[in-house]
């Protein structure tokens, strides 16, 4: 109710105000020598470990400026601290948009935090680009044309697993275990997207609460249905339990685990490294600890950047490969803009990225957008646990919109 009324109001107000805005301020945040970009991140608080992403991006814009900038302009990148609290995110975002008058917003961190500004930025027509969150709701160009995510969403990941299952076992019976919240439900939606009408006949589901002590009963219940495929959208603690339990009761399904919960130290070792052999997950980034990338041109480019611009950065922290990828995408959009850095054109370029390679992403995985598809990364590669490490196999698989 409220939303629809709000939309109606916003659109009518927007229609009335549009000519005035266009005349009053053509390109906020852009001068002859500078483009001002804003962001928020958790520089303090419980999840401040993500603040290295902002450090990485600052360093990337510094490198860009050292190399002459873009469109004859230098990039000024302002990051404010929201401590991962949604009200603070709104405060800081308004500060960026209304006081600092940034050209647009880039890579703000977090799902609840971005939710708090989702409507604000879309009402004001401020590009809200390449957010640091894996939720699915950012790829909704019809209702929120100014907001765009970057990394593959959990929903895309589930679509990819389901596609692989259909290819390998067209008559599979799929058991789906997911956590009963937004995170888990994205997996449910992803499986539904691919199976459509067949979902009812092919899939049995079980859910768990984040507060449950164990998920043993769900595993037993799913095994009893005779399923031969198991897809798990659960957090690391339950992932370890699931892997162990499935092994211990002698169930041998083709088992998929969300890539949120595949850390060797946190999941595989507690579960028992030998119990997880054959487990499948996915990734879109190059793992810097993988010897396969020791001489890789893309990763060497990243290492060179780290050495010169973030000399004290932890090379083992994969937030830096993430930051490098998302920063590369942003710079590509700026280059595409030519000499027109108006909000309309920035958004227009952001939704028209031709498939491009990014140094820190796996070979074959492209960043791309279309006006009706905001899933900037929609491909992943599967990998299998061999008892010691994750081994990539097969081709890159594409999820949403294809």
């Amino acid at each position: 109710m409220t939303i629809s009324r709000r939309l109606l109001l916003a659109s009518s107000a927007g229609a009335l105000a549009a000519p005035n805005i266009a005349a009053a301020q053509e390109t906020p945040g852009v001068t002859a020598t500078e483009i001002h970009i804003g962001s928020t991140n958790a520089l303090s608080g419980p999840v401040s470990s993500y603040s290295v992403i902002s450090r990485c991006l600052e360093a990337m814009f510094k490198r860009l400026n050292d190399e002459g900038g873009v469109g004859g302009r230098r990039v000024k990148f302002t990051v404010y601290d929201d401590a991962y609290q949604p009200p603070r995110t709104l405060e800081q975002t308004r500060r960026l948009v209304e006081r600092d008058r940034v050209a647009f917003l880039f890579n703000q961190l977090g799902t609840p935090t971005n939710s708090a500004v989702h409507r604000y930025v879309n009402q004001r027509s401020v590009p809200h680009l390449f957010l640091a969150t894996g939720a699915d709701k950012w790829a909704n160009p019809r209702e929120f044309p100014w907001t765009m995510g970057w990394q593959p969403s959990y929903r895309v990941e589930a679509q990819i697993y389901t596609k692989y299952v259909l290819e390998q076992r067209p008559n599979a019976k799929i058991a789906l275990l997911y956590q009963n919240d937004d995170f888990g439900r994205d997996y449910l939606h992803g499986v539904q997207d691919v199976l459509k009408d067949r979902f009812r006949s092919m899939v049995v589901t079980a859910t768990n609460e984040a507060t449950d002590p164990t998920i043993d009963s769900q595993i037993v219940q799913l095994q009893a249905t005779g399923a031969d495929v198991l897809i798990c959208g659960v957090v690391p603690r339950f992932a370890a339990q699931a892997i162990r339990r499935v092994h211990d009761i002698g169930w041998r399904p083709m088992m998929f685990m969300t890539n949120v919960s595949v850390s060797v130290g946190v999941v595989m070792q507690p579960a028992g490294v030998e119990k997880g052999v054959g487990l499948i997950t996915s990734d879109y980034r190059k793992d810097q600890s993988d010897p396969a990338w020791a001489q890789d041109a893309g990763m060497n480019e990243w290492r060179d950047f780290m050495r010169r611009y973030v000399p004290d950065g932890d090379l083992g922290d994969n937030n830096y490969t993430y930051g490098y990828g998302v920063g590369t995408t942003m710079i590509q959009v700026l280059r595409q803009c030519g000499n027109d850095f108006s909000r309309e054109n920035v958004m227009n370029q952001a939704r028209n990225i031709k498939p491009m390679d990014v140094a820190t992403l796996l070979p074959g995985i492209k960043v791309q957008t279309q006006p009706d598809n905001y899933n900037a990364i929609r491909q992943m590669q599967l990998q299998r646990w061999n008892g010691q490490s994750w081994e990539r196999f097969g081709n890159v698989i594409e999820g949403a919109g294809s």
Binding site: R6, L43, Y80, D81, P86, L90, E91, E98, T113
Partner: protein, 327 residues
Amino acid sequence: MSLSPARFLLVLLGLAAALAPLWVLESFHLFQLTMAVIMALAVLGLNIVTGYNGQISLGHGAFFAIGAYVTSILMAQADWSFYATLPFAAAICGMVGYAVGLPALRLGGLYLALVTFSLAVAVPQLLKHKALEAWTGGVQGLFLMKPDPPRWLTSVLPLNADQFMYLNVLIVSGICFLLAWNLIRGRIGRALMATRDHPTAAEAMGMDIAALKTGAFAVSAMITGVAGALSAVAVEFVAPDSFTFLLSITFFVGMVVGGVASILGSIFGGLFVLFVPNIAESISRAAPGVIYGMILIVFLFVLPEGFAGLVRRLLAKLSSPENPKPQ
């Protein structure tokens, strides 16, 4: 009560200072100030139970959250007007506060602090719970809409939504501050303080300690709940992550910095907890928490009785040479 001319002037000045930002500040700063006033109101609520009644509460973020959610659910799910939700938010928070006040009768000091703290930790998780999700929107939270200024007002006084919100917050908070002031300087206020300072003596004087303690909790939760309701509308969004236990600590910091058991101090406390983190961040982006902590320590050293204590001392100094009090 009659106002002396000097007092009257002071009230007028205060009113002017509160209203001036409407025209002086641009939208963003006005929004910040709106949030600061809301924080001040929440700190006032905490001050009543902790400052005046001596019951330590580390759980006022929970009341803030409940107030915010009552208003949001009524507005988003039942399409109520914002104004109609305020009494409900206040009433429900008052009831919850009363219920929390009951264990407070048996538990004192640090134990009570822990009980209330557990409330602050539990509420965000309860808001995500499946059983409540149909109402609370779960992790996604709820979106609402600021009230638009009515036409009769805009025809006299051209206000945009942000200015109107500030005005609303100012009026509601002003009423709450006045009521709290009235409560504190009367019979009940003295009874609250007597219970804090010497419960045995207070009881011997015939005061009903149990009723006072639970009553203080109820009033305190009510005020903080109203602040929560205002914040939900000002931010136009609520989610469980907006109300982590850190919020309760923030109120506590605001109360101590502003001045324990001081109504004026609550205002300063609200301004402090909203603006100082921003100042800290502008000094050091790498470690804003460290700077914030340092500013906090400096404040506690320089102003041991909070901001209100400083004002009290200054006033005493100003008045003493002119009319020395007889010893």
